[in-house]
Symmetry: C2
Subunit: 200 residues, 2 copies
Amino acid sequence: VTAEPGAVPARRGRRRGGGDTRAEILAAARAEFAAKGYDGASVRGIARAAGVDPALVHHYFGTKEQVFVTALQLPFDPSEVVPRLVAGTPEELGERIVRFFLSVWERPDARAPFLTLLGAAMTNEPAAAMLRGFVTSTLLQRIAASLHAPDAGLRVTAAVGQLLGVGVVRYVVRVEPLASASVDEVVALVAPTVQRYLAP
Amino acid sequence: VTAEPGAVPARRGRRRGGGDTRAEILAAARAEFAAKGYDGASVRGIARAAGVDPALVHHYFGTKEQVFVTALQLPFDPSEVVPRLVAGTPEELGERIVRFFLSVWERPDARAPFLTLLGAAMTNEPAAAMLRGFVTSTLLQRIAASLHAPDAGLRVTAAVGQLLGVGVVRYVVRVEPLASASVDEVVALVAPTVQRYLAP
C-alpha cells in the first residue's frame, strides 16, 4: 500500500525523525484510527497527518497493525502471537489460547489500555468501529483461516466472546468466585469451550 | 430491613407522594447505589435521601432489587425472570437462558442502559462495584442455588461471561459473522456451552 522501509524517506521538506517525531506519529495515528476506523486508516494517511514520509512510519513501527498496537498501547502484537498459538497440537488449542489470554489480562498495565478502548466502544460508535476492524483483521481472520470448518468465522467470534466475557467478569466487574479462582481453575473450566468452538 | 408496604407511610413531615416524588426517589436511588454499591445501599437510605418514608419507596417500587432495576432502567427484573428460567426441563436450561438473553439484547432500548453501566464499570470502580453487587445478589446466587454442583458458583460466572461476551461482540463491537448471524444460529452454537457449565 505504501512505501517500503527501504525507500527514500524524506521529500518536500517533511521532517526526518528527531526527538518527538515518534510521539507525533503515534498521536497522528490515534487521531487517524479514531476518525477512519481501523480499515479506513492507512500508513500513508498517518504519515501525512504527522508531516513525515510513510517510510519513516514503517521504519519506526512496521505495518499498520503494529502502528495500531503501539499507538493504543495494546499488550501484544497479533501478527506475532496468533501464528504461535495456532501452531502446536490441535487438541490443546483451546488451552493454549485461554492460558495466553489470561496471562495478558492478569497484568493490570496490560489490560488497562484495552479496557479503555472497550469502555469507549460501549457508547461510542467510532470507538466500536476501530475495535471491530482491528479485531477482525488481526485476530479473527487469521485464526479462522487456520481452521477448516465451514462456519469457522462464527465459531471464532463465539470463542472471542467467551474469552472477552470471562475477562470482563473476572478482572473488571470482579464477580466471585470467578475473580478469585486460580488460573488453572479457569483454564479447566473454559478451555474445553474454546476447544469445542475452534476444533469441533 | 425496612418497613412493609402496609405500614404507615408518612411521619415527621415527609412528603407523601405527588407529581415528582417517584422521579425524586429514583434520582436518590441512583445516587445511593453509586455511592454505596448495591450491597451497601438500602431502601431506608434511599428514602432518607429522597425525604420520604421507606414505606412509600416500597409502595412505588417494591424491593431494593426492584428499585435498582427501575432506577437504572434495566430491561428485566431478575426476581421474576430467574425462577422462570431455572424451572422447566434441565436438558434445555442452556437454550432457555441463551434465548432469553438474546431476546433482551436484540432490543436497542433494552441493552442501552446496561451498556452505559458496563462501559462505566470498565474504568470506574464504584460503577463496577454497583454492577458486581447487583449481578451477584440477583442473578448468580439465585441460579447457583438451583444447581447441585460443588463448584456451581464458578460455573455460573463462566456462563455469565459467555453470555456477556457474546452480547458485547455481537451487539456492541458488532464483529462479523456473529453480528449478522440469526438468533437460531447463535443459540445452536452457544446453548451447549451454557448447558455444559450449568448442568455438567
